[in-house]
Symmetry: D2
Subunit: 375 residues, 4 copies
C-alpha cells in the first residue's frame, strides 16, 4: 500500500468548520456521541479522510453510518478499541465532499460501558463552511424512534445493536425531506410514565433535561452525560414526541417489582380488557407534565405528539392529555398526529416497523410538519 | 469490553461446512476473493463470529458487504493490513445464522496490488451444512455488471471503489429472486472486442478461461489468478453475458495507440454517424468467437446475451452475431434479451445505472430466465 | 342488427335471485336507487342482459357504473327518460356473470326532481343465487364519502354529477378489500352540526333514520324517501362516520341567514384564529347525540369515526366528543381513526381527494377495520 | 326535466373547429369512425353538449370513451340505432372544455355490419380552435394494439367488444406522454404474413394503403373503407409496428384450409420444436415488404418495430428482416425495440396484457421515441 503522505492530523477542536449533530457536552477532546442520529459533519475538499474513534462496551457495540453528499456509502460495527476508520480515499482533491459520520445505535441504558468517542481526523485537504439548515427538529421516542427493527430479516429476535439504524428511520427521512437539522432522544422500551414492563423509572421525561440522562455509571458521568443540557444553544422549531406505545404495552405486561424496596408498579386492565381509568389518568398526567417540561426548555417550538406506528390503543388518552395541557396553560402550539400503522408488508425485524413503515410515516409526518413550519 | 472467551480459531480449511462463492483457485490458506460477488457463506450456530482478512492495494481498496439471513447488515471499506472483522456478536447461541461476506468491488485490472484474502474465522459455536441451491448462473459483463454507480449521489464522478456494489446489482437481485447460486466475471470499461476507448487488449473473452485472468502482476500470478479455471467443478445452468456497451462506446471514442509498438486501434464511424460496417463485423466476429468459447466451457448452459441498460445502439449487430453463431454451430441454446434502459429516475452515480435501474433489469431478467430454466 | 329473440322480460319483483344494495323502501315496482353506491346485483347465466331505467332531474343527472365479475366495464351518464340500457351482450350463455349496476352519484338534496328508478330486466338466461358476504359496513359522510372529485382533471371546478364516483371511492375499495356488503349515507357540504356554510339544517344526523330523508319535494315523498328506515333488515358490523370536515369549514365561512325567519347561524373564530370554544362545544354535542342515535339503530355495530382526508383541524373536538359519549353511556364500541391527508400528488378535481387519496385511505381503513371485525 | 333551450344543432361539417382523429374518408355527413382510437375532438365553450351517433352491428357493438380535459369521464356501449348521447351538461358556460369522444373498439373484420357514425352535435356555446400537437405517431398492430384484455376480470374468456379499450392502451398512453396526435391500425389475431391460425389473408400489410381495408361487405364499401388512404394529409413522425405475435403463434397452431379452393397454409415447426427456417424466411420476407410499403407512404417517418408484450420467440427473425431491409434499401430510419413482457401481475382479461402491462410498455416506448424525435 502506498501511504498518502499529505495526510495531516487534526484534533476535532482544531477544525475550523466542524458541525456536531445531537446533544453533546460541548467537549471536543474527545467528542462523545451519545444518541442515535448524533454525528459529525464536514465539508471536506481533499482526497482522503480518516477518523479516529475510541469505542467501548460490555454488551452493545456502537455502529456508524457514513454519508457522502447525503448518500449512505457505509454502515459498520465499531468494535472496542481506539483506532482509525477510513471515511474516503482516492477522491478528486479539488471537489468538496459533504461528509456525515452518524451514530447508528441508540444511547444504551443497559450497558454503562458503551461509549463512542471521536478524537481526531486525518485529512489531506481543506475544510469549508457548512451551510445552516433553515429548520431544527427534535425527535423524542422509544424503540420506534431508535430505528429498532429497520435492519435485518423479519424473523430476527435477538436484542442487539445490529438491527438499529439512525438512517433507515423516520427521523432521518423526515429531516432530510424538510431540509432540517435534527436531534433524537430515544430509548427502546421506555415510555412517558413507565416502560413496557411497568418500570416507573424507565421514562423519558425524567431524564429529558440532561445531556443524556438515561445513561448510567461513572464513566458516563465523567463524560458529562448527566450534566444539564444547554437548551439555549439549540432551539428546535418543532419537537416531535413519539411516545405512548410502551405505556400502552404496560397494561398488558406483568407488574414490575423493585427487588430492593419491594416497590411494585402495574398499569391495570379492567375485567373487560380495557385499561383501568385511574392508571390511564396517571399516564395522562405524565403527558401533561412532560408537555410543560418540553415547553419550559423549548419556548418557541411547535410540539407534535405522534403515535400509531404500532397501533393506536391509547390515542384517546393522548388527546385528552393534550387537551388538558392546552386548557391549563392556554399554550396552543401543541397538537397530535396519528402516524400510519405498520402492516405485514412494512414490518421489519423484531416485529418492529421496517424501513418501509418508516418511509411511510416520514412521508405523512413531513407533510404535516411542512404545514406547521410554513404557516 | 468483556472478551468472549469461548471464541475458537478456525482456519478456513478446518471448517467442515464452508461455501465459497465465485471463481477461486481452490486454495483456502488463505482464500483469495478475486471477483465482485465472490463470497464465503456459513451457517453459524453460535453467538459471535469474526473473520480474519488480509488486504492490500496501491489505489483501489476492496469493500465487503455482510449479509445475515439474506439481509444486508453492513457494508464497509477494507483498508490495508491483516486484521479481524467482527461479523456478529451478542446473538442467540442456539439459533443458526446464515452468513455471507461478499466482496463488493470488481477485480481490479488497474491495480496489481489490490487483493482481498481471508485467512480464518473466530467463532464460539458450530457450523452447519449449507443447502445447495437448485440453479447456478454466471454473469459476464462490464461496469454495469460490476455495479458501478449503484452507490453514491448522482453527481459523483470519481472512479473509486466506493461507488461499486455487488449487492445493489442486478446480478445479486436476479440470483436471489431465482434462488440461484451465482458468479460474476466483469470489468468496467471492457468489451467483447475492445474497451470503450478502443484498447483491443481490454476484452473479457481473452481472459475468460483463467481464474481471474484480467488481473496483472506477479502477486496475482502467485495467488493463482492466471491458472486455468476449473470449469468442471461449477457448471452453470445459465450464462448471462452483458457486454457490448463499451464496444458501442468505442465508435465514439478516440483511437487507442500502443505507445510501445505504435499499434493503433479505432472502431470507426461513417460520415453519417453510423458505425463503420467492417468494424461492426469485427465486433460481431468477436461475439461469435466468444460464444464458441463459452460453449466449450459450459456444455449445458443456456447462454443469454443481454443488453440495453445504457441504450441499444448496436443491438442489431448482437442479434446478427448470435444468428451467425447459431447457423454455424446449430447450437440453439443461445438467445438475446433486451434489458430496460436507464432513465433520469433510475440513474445512479457516475451516469451509470442506479439501484432502481438494476432492480428493474433484475425483474425482467428474472422472468426471462425463469421461463428458460423451468422449461 | 340481429335481434336476440331469446330475451325475456322480467319485472324486478319476478327475479328469484335479486340483490339490492343501499337503503331502499323495499319497493321493487319500480326500485328507486336513492344513495350513491346503491345498486342491484345479479348472478346471470346467459348471453345478454338489459336494464330498464327511468330517470329524471332538473339539474343533476344520475350516472351509473357497471361491474362484471367485479371489474368496472362501463360508467355512463343517465339522461332523462324511461329506456333500456344494455349491460352485456354476446357473452357465453353457459357462464354465470356477477353483475352490479351501481348508482355513481349521491342523493341530491339540491334537485328534488333527481331520481333513478329501475323497472325491469331483459335477459336470455337464468338467475342464480348470490352468496352472502360475511360483513356489512355502513359509511356516513359528506362530499368525500360521495366521491366528489374522484373523476375529472384537477382544474375542474363545476359542481356537477360528472365528477362523482361510487367506485373510485374509499367506501367501495374498503368494502371490496374486506369482502363486505356496504351502504353509503352522504351529502356534499353537510356536517354533523351544520354545513360548510353554517346552515344548521344541512346536517346528516337529523335525517339519518329515514330511508333518504335529506331529499326534498313531493316526488321523493311519494317514492318513500321520508319513510322510517327499516334498520332491522340490515344491521352493519361496522358503521364508519366520516364527518367533521364541513363542520370545521363552517368556522371559516360567512354566517348563514334564513331569509324567511331571519335566523342566523355562525361557528365563530377567536381573534387568534382558533375556533370559538362554545361553538366547538356545540359541534361536540352534536357528535355525542349522533353517536347515541347511531347506537340506537345499530345495536351491535362497532362505530368508527374517521377524519383527516382533508386535514385534521378539529380532531381534538372529535376525540373529546367520543370520550364524552363513552363516559356518558359506557358504550365502548366506538373509536376514532385518522385517515391519511390528501396531498398534491393525490388530489383530484374540485380540490377534493382524488382516486389515489381514496385508495390510500381505503388501505389504512381496511387494516383498521380488519382488526376490529376479526377480534 | 328542464330542457336547455339554448342548444343549437350543428352538422359536423358546420363546426368551424372540429378535429377528427384516425383514418377517415374525409366525409363528415356523417363521419364514420373506423378504427380504435379514432375520435372527434372539440374545444367547447358552453354548458351542454350532445352527440348524434348512428350505430349498427350484427355481432360486435362499438363502445366509446369520453374525455373531458384529458380525463376519462365515461365509457359506454353503443347499442344499435340513431340517437343522441349527452357528453356533458350543467357546466360553466364561460369555460372552454377540451372534449374527445373516442371509439374504444377496433375495426371489426368479423362483423361487416359493425359501424359507428357521427352525424351532428347539439351545443349551447362556441367552438374554439384546437392546438396542433407537435408530433404524429401511427401505431400498427394486433390484439395488443387493439387493447384487447385491458378491461374485465382476469378469468374472462369471451371474445366481445367489452374487453377492448383504446384508452387503457399503450398507444394512447404513449401518445399522451409525448404530447402527440396518433392513429391506430390494428386487428386482433392478425399478423404480417398470416393470422395466429395460419390464414394468409389475415395480414395487416395487404390492407395498409386503404382507409380501412380489412373491413368487409358492401356497407363498408359504400362508407369508403376500401378507398385509397390519403397519406399526404397526415404524415407521422414515427410509425410503431407491433406485429409478429400472431405470426409466431401460427407455428403452434393447426394448418389453415380455404374450404373453397382447398388452399392450405401452415407455418411449420421442426422436430425439435423450433420454427421451420423456410417458413420463418417467409415471415421475414413479409416484414421486408411491409417496411418498404410503410416507407413508400411515410417518407419521413422513423419506423420502430416493437415486439415483446407477449414474449419474444421470433425476435431474431424480426431483427434479421429489418437488417435485410436496411441493407437492401440503405434506409436507416428503421429500428427494433423490445417491449417488456406481460407477467402474472400485469396480465389482463383473456390472457392478454392488462392495463398495467400497457402502462409499463408505454413508459419504455415513450423514452425510446423521445430519443428519436428529439434528436
Amino acid at each position: 500500500m502506498k501511504e498518502n503522505e499529505k495526510l495531516k492530523l487534526y484534533e476535532l477542536s482544531d477544525i475550523n468548520y466542524l458541525k456536531v449533530h445531537g446533544r453533546t457536552t460541548g467537549e471536543l477532546s474527545p467528542l462523545t456521541l451519545f444518541w442515535t442520529g448524533s454525528a459529525i459533519e464536514l465539508n471536506a475538499k481533499g482526497s482522503e479522510l480518516w477518523l479516529e474513534v475510541e469505542v467501548d462496551y460490555d454488551i452493545y457495540e456502537p455502529w456508524i453510518s457514513i454519508l457522502v453528499n447525503s448518500a449512505v456509502v457505509s454502515r459498520q460495527m465499531l468494535t472496542a478499541g481506539r483506532y482509525w476508520v477510513c471515511v474516503f480515499r482516492g477522491m478528486n482533491e479539488n471537489e468538496t465532499k459533504n461528509i456525515r459520520i452518524v451514530r447508528d445505535v441508540q444511547a444504551m441504558n443497559g450497558d454503562e460501558s458503551c461509549s463512542l468517542k471521536i478524537h481526531a481526523v486525518k485529512f489531506d485537504g481543506e475544510f469549508l463552511p457548512i451551510e445552516e439548515k433553515p429548520y431544527k427538529i427534535e425527535f423524542i421516542g422509544d424503540s420506534i424512534t431508535s430505528g429498532e427493527g429497520t435492519v435485518g430479516a423479519k424473523p430476527e429476535e435477538d436484542w442487539i445493536s445490529m438491527w438499529f439504524s439512525a438512517i433507515r428511520n423516520y427521523t432521518f427521512i423526515t429531516a432530510e425531506a424538510l431540509n432540517a437539522e435534527y436531534r433524537v432522544i430515544s430509548q427502546s422500551g421506555w415510555g412517558v410514565l413507565t416502560s413496557w414492563d411497568n418500570n416507573p423509572h424507565y421514562n423519558i421525561p425524567e431524564y429529558y433535561d440532561k445531556v443524556c440522562g438515561l445513561l448510567t455509571g461513572e464513566k458516563n458521568e465523567s463524560l458529562g452525560a448527566f450534566k444539564q443540557n444547554d437548551f439555549a444553544s439549540w432551539q428546535p422549531n418543532v419537537v416531535v414526541v413519539n411516545l405512548g406505545t410502551n405505556d400502552a404495552g404496560a397494561f398488558n405486561s406483568p407488574e414490575w417489582k423493585d427487588e430492593e424496596t419491594g416497590e411494585i408498579h402495574k398499569q391495570r386492565l379492567n375485567e373487560d380488557g380495557t385499561p383501568n381509568e385511574e392508571d390511564l389518568k396517571a399516564f395522562e398526567g405524565a403527558v401533561v407534565i412532560f408537555l410543560a417540561k418540553l415547553r419550559k426548555y423549548n419556548k418557541n417550538a411547535h410540539i407534535v405528539w405522534v403515535y400509531g406506528m404500532l397501533g393506536t390503543p391509547i390515542m384517546p388518552a393522548i388527546y385528552r392529555a393534550v387537551d388538558t395541557y392546552i386548557k391549563e396553560t392556554s399554550d396552543k402550539r401543541v397538537s397530535v398526529f396519528q402516524l400510519p400503522n405498520t402492516t405485514d408488508e412494512t414490518v421489519g425485524s423484531r416485529c418492529h416497523p421496517g424501513v418501509l413503515s418508516h418511509k411511510k410515516a416520514a412521508k405523512e409526518l413531513t407533510e404535516y410538519i411542512k404545514e406547521i413550519i410554513t404557516k
